[in-house]
Every structure is written in C-alpha cells, then in structure tokens.
C-alpha cells in the first residue's frame, strides 16, 4: 500500500524525514519497500493573478492578459478561454521550464509581446489531457490562501514522497492513512488528527427515502446508507485528482473519487449507487440465486450463486457486495441523486467471492482482511462532507444504520510472567501499560496481570500471544538482547540418509561427475521417453506452464534434457548426476547418472577417454563397493528407454552371499531416442543410470571386516582362452571361484579380442590370475600344479573352449 508523506503530516505530527519515517515504519513491522520522491518536472513556474483580460487585436482566438507576479505586472498572451479577471493561475515567465522541457522566453505573437505563458495541467505534466488553464481556486487547490509570486510546487504541495508499504495480511488496520498515523502516534505520543466532520443536513429523512433489509445473516453484520440529492457529477477538483494519482488510483468523477479518497484516508471501502436507478428505493443484502446474473462496472457479465453476497433492489442484484458494483446503478455524468453505502461484510465470504471471480478490487482487498466494524457511519459522514463540498447537493437527514451481531473486541488476560517467558526479558509494567494505551486498547490492571480490550480496528488481536507481539513490536526488537539458550544435550538420532547421500556426493564428484538439480516436474513432451503408464503420474491441477503438468516419475528426462542443454551450449563432455525425489506416486529418493562425451580430449600428453558402457559400469561398481555393497548385473528386457543390447538391471546385496535386491538400471539411451533429441550429432552415445536410494538404505550396514595383508610375494599366471562369442567372461571366473582356492588372490581380465586370427564366432579373453599365500612363499611348482588344474577345469566345463599357450 502506498502513502504520501505530506498527507500523513496532516494526520499526525512527527519530525522524521521521509527516509527516517520509512525506517520507523519498517521497524514497526510495516516494511517500507520503496521510498519514491515526487517532484514536478516543470521549474520556475509561479502563482500569478490575472488583473485584466482583453482580446488580441490581430487574432480573434487569443487573449492578452495582464498578470501580476507580486513584484511586477507582465503582459501574457493566452489561447485558453476558461480564465477570468481575478483568477490565480500558474504563470511561466521568462526562464521557466515546462514539463516537456520547453523553455519560456519573451515572444512576439502576431505583433504583441508576450512575457510568459499561463499553464494548463498538461503543460505542467500533471495530467494527460488538456482542459484549459489550471485555475488555482480554493475549490481546485483545497488551499485557503496562495501567495502570489511563490513557486507553484511549494504552494500546491506538489513535492511529496510516496512510501510503498508491504502490509502483512494480519494488519488490515494499516491499509489507510489514518492507520499509519495511528502507528506513528503510538511511537511519538502525538495524537492522531482525525478529520473534523461537519455538514448541513436537509429536513427530509434518509430513512423515509430508502428501505434496507439485511437478509444474509452473519455475512453482513452492518450496513449503513445515506442519500444525497441534486448533486452535480463532474471531474474532481485538481487536488483530489492529484492525491489519488499519487497513490495509484485513476480519477473517475467527483463522487467516485471521494469514495476512494475516504477509503484511502480511513480504510473503509464505500460504494455510491445512482439512487434513481434503485427500483422502489429498496436495498436488500442477501445471497445470490443460481439463475441470477449481473453486469459489473468492468462490463463483465457474472453469474451469481448462493455463495455470493449481493446488494439488490427488490427486483435484481445491483452490486456484488464488497467486490464490485453493478453497471446499471453506476454513478454517471447524468446522476443527480446517490445512495452511499458504508458497510461491514464478513471477510471470508468476500474472499471466497473475490477468488471465485478472480476479481480483486481495493474494496475486496480491505474487506477480506477485515475492516473496522465500528467505522461505517463515520466514514460515510466523512464522504458526505466531501461530496457536498465538491459536488454540491443536499444530504438527507440521518444515516440508516442496520447492524446485527457486530464482532466485539475480546477481553484478553495477560500475565506479566508469561510475557517475560516469551520475550526473555522483563519489560517494565508501566512500559507495557503505556504501549497498550498508545495502541488505544482499554487496559485494566490487577497485580501482575493485564486485562486488555483492543480497539475495534485491531481485529487481529484475539489472544495473549497477539498482545505479546504488540509489546515486543512497539518496545522494539532491537532492544531485546541476543542470548544463547542453555540446552540439554541429547543423543542424536541416526541419520543414515544424510550419511549415505553425502558419501555419494563425495564418491561421484571424485569420479568426475557434476551434481545437477533439475525441476521435479516433467514436461509432456518427455513422457514418451519413459515407458510408464499415464495413470501413474501425479498431475498438477494448476501448472504454471500447461506442458509442465505432472511430477516426475524418474530422473532420466531431467538428465537427458541437461545433457542436451549442455551440448547446445558447446559443452562436449557432460558427466552428471542428480539425487532427488521421484513420484510414482509415492515419493522415492533416487540417484540418476548421465555420461556423454570424452574427457581430457585436448591434452598434449594424455589421450582422452571416451566413455562407454563399461565406463559407467565402473562408476556404479566403484560406488557400491564404497558403500559396502556388492552389485550384480543381469540382462534386462523391455526397457524401452535403453538400447536393447546395452542395458542391464542392477541388484545389490550387503555381502556376496546374501539375497539380492533390485535397485536400478543402467545402459545406453536408445539410439532412436537419441536421434530425436535436439542435438547436432544424433549419433552420440548417452549413457544413463537410475538407482533407487530409498530401498538401498535398509541394506547398508556400514560394517566392514578387515582382511589381513599377506607379507609374502605373489605369483601371476595368465590364461588366454578362445571361446564362443556368446559366452560371458564371467563364466570362466565363476569356474575358478567355485574351485574355492584360498591362494587365488584375484582374477583380472586384461585383454578381450575378436577378429583375425581368431575364428569367426569366437573371441579371445585373457585372464591374469594372481596367487598368493597368507603365511608362506609359494613355490613355482605348486602354482604350476594349481594353474594347470584350472586350465583343465575350464576346458572340461566350457564348451568349445580352447586355451592359447
């Protein structure tokens, strides 16, 4: 909400500069987000008085004016005709600058010298449309006296500062100038200068001219109405338009502008109806009917229902209560009589209606946050006073004020000890009392206890914690000391998840992978990549982008998109991982890995590595070994995201002998999917893995058994085997392992080869077996014996195998 510095000064006395004021308000919880100085863009324009007007001898449309500036009398030629002798006007003189930077000089206009210019609002940069010379009458300026010759901006108070305040939803009382003045009053002790309301009423009674029926129960606890007749609708005087403009409201006409002004001043939204358009002069406050419609003043036709509170004549709805008026009863230039509504509506009803129509107005914004239920009559009177002043007319006698169950302020008990317990220090009893009084609460004391009744506008104060907040806020957060609590030491819970994820971060970054974070949503276009039935997706009801409409069931699309993004940014080597939740629909924490592109391609000495299936397999193996788990890999069919010949299922177990749990999948992205990606080289290979971490947690024991180190030398013997291409390398290792020989330390594969001279359909695999005894040095002879047994065993068990010597 915006306020102006000058206006606030009219309502409460204070000595702060605009920036000090902003600081004070911010420290009261009314955060000033912007301080905007307002300065007219013209310069050296003064108040002049027209002494004489006569026609230009050589141009019928022009007038020659004699204008006094207090010190001299100038001859000024003027084209506008809305001026009269004796008028005060803005006078630009030799050296003045208009808003559009036009400099005023002495000119000869058709044979007559002109020593300046009389200005319109447009020329002063105060209005977009030209409507003649700005006449500085009392009515137009709201100033009693203007000093002739004085700078215009000073005399009219055009220089001001706007403060834009972020008013939190609990403080509707601060959504007005008077509300802000009350806060300043509270810290300065200076009283709020509530505007004096006085006007003359007609002999005819309001209540004889309007019937009000409350038929909506709790939804409308208070409704007041007044009638003003014979007024003249026109543009508002300059001061009113200027003030509304500063606070961001568009001027409409004098009556509507006054209702807005009073809303800004006091916080009470008002509505003016064209009285003559209200059939039978009956106002009924009721719920809408299902068949009803109303055309609102924004020219939208709105369908009503029983959840919508309406203001109706005895024929039809004429306004959506508290949100927007109806077109039919709108105040127009033809209106002569008005009915002025000032009411208190139940906040939640207004909010529901405002949400339903997606319609937020200055009125609904205040009503849905709760207005002051005691304010409607006073606000109505204030508006009548100003309407009579700017639009004339006669106000009928008395106000029609219907109320039913108006919310009453609670009586709250607050013990000083509770206050100290929450704040941490003892704020002196008299200090607390003076804070309450400053807030205009009624206070009773009993020993160490306060009984507090908040003012009607503080609807947010309902219990003692609210009072404590008020005490702390006004006392000043800055005066509360910063202390460290004395806390009990407690045995922490075991947080395996954080431990494991941190370990994964270290392992994978150590292997050269960069962590990414992608959105938890999935784009419609990525759904075909995943072979997941549509009913499994958790969908967003209100997506920001309609294509991004569901929660991700997998990390794979985000990883692919990140790889594509990086390729297109010219990053050739993309080795990434993400740890994040997936929704299937249950939340599961997953690890995703994506690898594509060579590393160290441009080094002068060390050749780059081009990652392939086995590169990623190595990462996964290393990861699991270091998490103290044993991975196993098996062929996977029907995983459509992956290359059917380069994909496998990952299962793990806490020890080599335990039962295995499936935890994920890895392989090459299906080349047909890669080909459709938005990348320059569709033949690129992208390797992906996805592992579920939630199911891993139960398997990780964290226990690691120490293996004794042999101090005796090892002996290496190699076996090179030619076998059928379809056989697995592990078949040989399994045979060796099953022999259960203690002295075999390791079996490594150091060469795999097919092609000439190896026959077609065959491949050659070379195994290195390392022998080592724990307690003694092995002899060549015993190693040779065992090695030859292994050779025989392999030839015996593997069909068509041939050992190359």
């Amino acid at each position: 909400m915006k306020i102006t510095y000058n206006w606030l000064k009219e309502l409460v006395r204070f000595n702060y500069t605009p920036h000090e004021l902003a600081e004070q308000l911010t420290m009261l919880g009314l955060e000033v987000e912007l301080v905007i100085p307002v300065k007219p863009s013209f310069s050296k324009i003064i108040v002049g008085k027209i002494l004489e007007i006569k026609p230009h001898p050589n141009a019928g449309k022009l007038l020659i004016c004699k204008v006094t500036t207090g010190t001299e009398i100038l001859q000024i030629i003027c084209g506008a005709h809305n001026i009269s002798t004796g008028d005060l006007v803005p006078a630009a003189i030799n050296g003045s600058m208009l808003a559009d930077n036009t400099e005023i000089t002495v000119k000869n206009i058709l044979g007559v010298e002109s020593f300046g210019m009389l200005c319109s609002e447009k020329e002063l940069g105060l209005n977009d449309i030209s409507n003649g010379i700005l006449i500085l009458s009392n009515e137009n300026t709201n100033c009693k006296t203007l000093k002739i010759g004085a700078p215009l901006e000073k005399e009219l108070g055009l220089e001001d500062t706007i403060l834009d305040i972020n008013v939190t939803p609990n403080r509707p009382d601060a959504l007005s100038m008077i509300g802000i003045a009350r806060e300043i009053s509270c810290i300065t002790g200076n009283p709020v200068k509530f505007p004096k309301i006085y006007f003359v009423e007609d002999k005819a009674y309001t209540k004889e001219n309007i019937i009000v029926k409350l038929k909506a129960g709790k939804l409308c606890p208070r409704y007041t109405a007044r009638v003003i007749k014979n007024l003249k609708i026109k543009a508002s005087p300059f001061w009113l338009r200027y003030r509304l403009g500063l606070l961001g409201l568009r001027p409409v006409n004098n009556v509507v502008d006054i209702t807005n002004l009073v809303m800004l001043e006091l916080g009470q939204p008002l509505h003016a109806f064209d009285y003559k358009k209200i059939e039978n002069a009956v106002i009924i406050i009721r719920q809408g009917n299902e068949e009803e419609k109303i055309l609102t003043i924004d020219n939208e036709s709105r369908i009503l229902d029983k959840d919508v509170l309406v203001i109706a004549s005895d024929k039809k709805p004429i306004a959506i209560a508290g949100v927007m008026g109806g077109k039919e009863t709108e105040v127009t230039s033809n209106t002569t009589d008005i009915l002025l509504e000032s009411a208190y509506f139940e906040p939640t009803s207004i909010r529901r209606t405002s949400k339903k129509y997606g319609l937020t107005s200055e009125s609904s914004y205040r009503f849905e946050r709760a207005t002051d239920p005691q304010l409607p009559p006073a606000a109505s009177n204030r508006a009548v006073q100003l309407i009579l002043k700017t639009a004339g007319g006669i106000a009928l006698k008395g106000i029609v004020d219907y109320k039913k169950d108006i919310p009453k302020p609670p009586l709250i008990k607050l013990e000083q000890s509770f206050c100290s317990r929450i704040i941490g220090i003892d704020i002196p009893f008299p200090k607390i009392e003076s804070i309450f009084k400053g807030l205009q609460c009624s206070v009773k004391k009993q020993r160490n206890t306060f009984f507090v009744k908040p003012p009607s506008w503080r609807r947010d104060i309902t219990n003692r914690i609210d009072l404590i907040e008020e005490i702390t806020r006004i006392f000043g957060y800055i005066k509360i000391p910063s202390l460290m609590p004395i806390a009990k030491v407690k045995a922490p819970a075991i947080d395996l998840l954080t431990k494991i994820t941190n370990k994964i971060y270290h392992l994978l970054t150590g292997m050269g992978l960069n962590e990414i974070i992608t959105y938890s949503f999935i784009n419609q276009k990525d759904i075909p990549i995943l072979n997941i039935p549509i009913q499994k997706y958790t969908r967003l009801v209100n997506p920001v982008d309609k294509d991004v409409c569901a929660m991700r069931p997998s990390l794979i699309p985000g990883i692919i998109n990140t790889i594509v993004y990086n390729f297109n940014m010219g990053n050739d080597s993309v080795h990434i991982f993400e740890i994040g939740r997936c929704f299937m629909p249950d939340e599961k924490l997953r690890l995703g890995i994506g690898i594509s592109g060579s590393i160290n391609n441009l080094h002068w000495q060390k050749k780059g590595i081009t990652p392939d299936f086995y590169y990623l397999k190595g990462i996964i193996e290393e990861l699991f070994y270091n998490l103290n788990l044993f991975p196993a890999f098996s062929y996977k069919k029907g995983a459509e995201t992956f290359h059917p010949g380069k994909v496998c299922k990952i299962s793990v177990s806490p020890s080599p002998d335990n039962g295995r749990v499936d935890v994920g999948i890895f392989g090459e992205l299906h080349p047909q999917i890669t080909a459709k990606l938005d990348i320059k080289d569709p033949s690129r290979q992208i390797y992906l893995a996805e592992i579920e971490l939630t199911s891993l947690l139960g398997l990780i024991t964290g226990k690691r058994k120490f293996q004794t180190l042999s101090k005796f030398p090892s002996i290496r013997r190699d076996i090179s085997i030619i076998l059928d291409s379809k056989l697995e390398s592990y078949d040989i290792i399994r045979i060796i392992r099953e022999m259960d020989l203690d002295i075999i330390e390791s079996v490594d594969i150091f060469d795999v080869y097919s092609g000439h001279p190896i026959p077609e359909g065959k491949k050659s695999i070379a195994y290195a077996i390392t022998y080592r005894h724990k307690e003694r040095t092995l002899t060549d002879e015993e190693v040779e014996n065992i090695h030859s047994t292994i050779r025989h065993k392999i030839l015996e068990h593997v069909p068509n195998a041939d050992i190359r010597e």
Binding site: T472, S482, M484, T509, I516, Y519, P543
Partner: protein
Amino acid sequence: MPIQEDLQKIQQDVFAKIEEAGSSQQLEDIRIGYLGRKGIITALLQTITTIPKEERPKIGVEINSLKNTIQQKIEEKLAQIQKSEQEKKISEEYTDITLPGIPQNIGHIHPITQTMQEISNIFIKLGFEVREGPEIESEYYNFDALNFQKDHPSRDMQDTFFLDNNLLLRTHTSPVQIRVMKSEKPPLRIIAPGKVYRCDADISHSPMFHQVEGFMVDYDINFSHLKGILSGFLTQFFGRDIKIRFRPSYFPFTEPSAEIDISCILCHAKGCRVCKESGWIEILGAGMIHPNVFKAVGYPLDTFTGFAFGLGIERITMLKHGINDIRMFFENDIRFLKQF
C-alpha cells in the same frame, strides 16, 4: 732392484693417468690396462717366478699393495667422475613448465547443495539434527496445522500448486515442524533442508526452490534466544563484519514474528539495486512458535516454548556468489557448475 724401480714407475704412471681420466670409460680403460687379465700388474704378478725365491714374498706384497692402491684410486676417481657426470646431466635437463598438467577429472557439488550443507553444518555444531519431510503434502500439514486460517488472505502469501489427488506441493519446509513435533517430544533442535514449490516464475522466483527450516523447542526458549542463535548463525555464514537487523513481520505459525535483514554485502550497505537502495537484505523469516501450532501437534497447553525460522537457499547463494538469475541453478550448465 729393477722390479722395484718398475713398480715405482708404474705407480707414478698409473696415478697420473687416473688423475687425468675425465670419464668413467677412461677409468675403465685404465683398470683393464693395469688390473685386467692382460693388464700390466697382472703381467707383473706372472713374472714373479723370474725373481729370486727369497725376494718373492716381499715383491709379491709390494705388487699386491700397488694393485690394491690402484683399485682404490680408480674407485675414488670413479665416484668423483660419476658425481660430476650426473651433475652435468641434471644441470642440462629442462622442463617446459608452461605446458599444462594432466587435468584431474573432479566433479562439483551443486552450489545449492553446498549452501544447504554449509548451513546444516553450522546448526549441527549447535546441536541441531537434520530431518526431512515429504515434498507432496496435505493441506493439513502445509497450512491448517500451521495456523493458516481457512479462507484467510495469509494463504495468498504462498501461491500453491495443487495436485489431482487432493494433495499439494509443500510451499515451505515448515510442515516438517508439525511432522517432527507430532512424533517427538522436546527438547528439540531440528534443521530441515529441502525443496519447496510455489506457482510463480520470473528472474527472481522459480516454481521450485530450496529452503532450510529450523526450530528449537524446550521449556523456556524465548525471543532473545531466537536472536542469539540466528545472529550466531548469520555471523558464521556471512562473516563478522555484517550488521544484523531484526524487525517485526507476520507468519501465521509464529508470534511474535520477525524478518531478519543483513547489511547489503554487495554495496556494503551503501544502497544498490539488489537491496533496493535500502542497504539491507532480507535473509530469514523467524518467530516464536505460535501456541496454536503446539496445540495442533498435541503438546500440553503452556508447557513448551520455542522458535522457528526458515530461509531461502537460492537467494543467499545468489548473494554469496553474485549470481543474478535464479534460473541458472536449474539449467545446470557445466561451465556454471564447475565454478563452485
């Protein structure tokens, strides 16, 4: 005594030769020339039979002595030559130190994760424990139990994504407060980092972002403790030279509520675009846990007090590193990630 004269002559010659030798090869030649199978000393020893028997032992001793002396001299000289040869070789070796080293392929942890870990670690040192909660939440945990009244504008403070299963994406990490307090009794010191979601997006807002929630509950935790703990945290995180300001604010689930600003670290509180010329940057939301929240989790009336706080990770990471667009965090450009 021709042999003895010979020996003297030989000794003079060989010593001179050894002294003159400039390389290990020359020394080897000398060794072979004197001590080798066909060497001079070897030949002398063979001629010993030609001298009278009674002189043989004496001459034999002298020859052997000379042999040993030559041997020793050669070895000494050899060590000397090898040392200078090595010194020469080393002094001639050259490395172009401007050629690049072999790059070690090290990955990087995402800056958001790094910030969350840094924050968590500060609080862990203060005895806080890490907890997590689900990202898909019910209206109850996200709003109702946190004292957001139904049909109240305070719900507009957080634009919510709703899901087709009547659930929603949590708009803040505060539901973790409810989940922890429902299952555990004070004393509690909890920190809860995680993803949160709000349906707005522009240069400074993302539909998904990260928060760290924290809270402390015990019998007598008060507002001055809130100030103490959070000032301590901010000083640890941003350094000693920042100024900290606590000012009143509003959150439905805390009262009194506070927003905590630090002096702008970009302009040193002089006023810039980032701090909107105010010199202050909003960092934390906090407050004393509202009695209605304790009521919702079933804690007995007036027994416990506590404070809670929350902070946005993207914002402080952007501040810390001078990142100007929140979307960079989720584009994951490798060139961006490698900077942290």
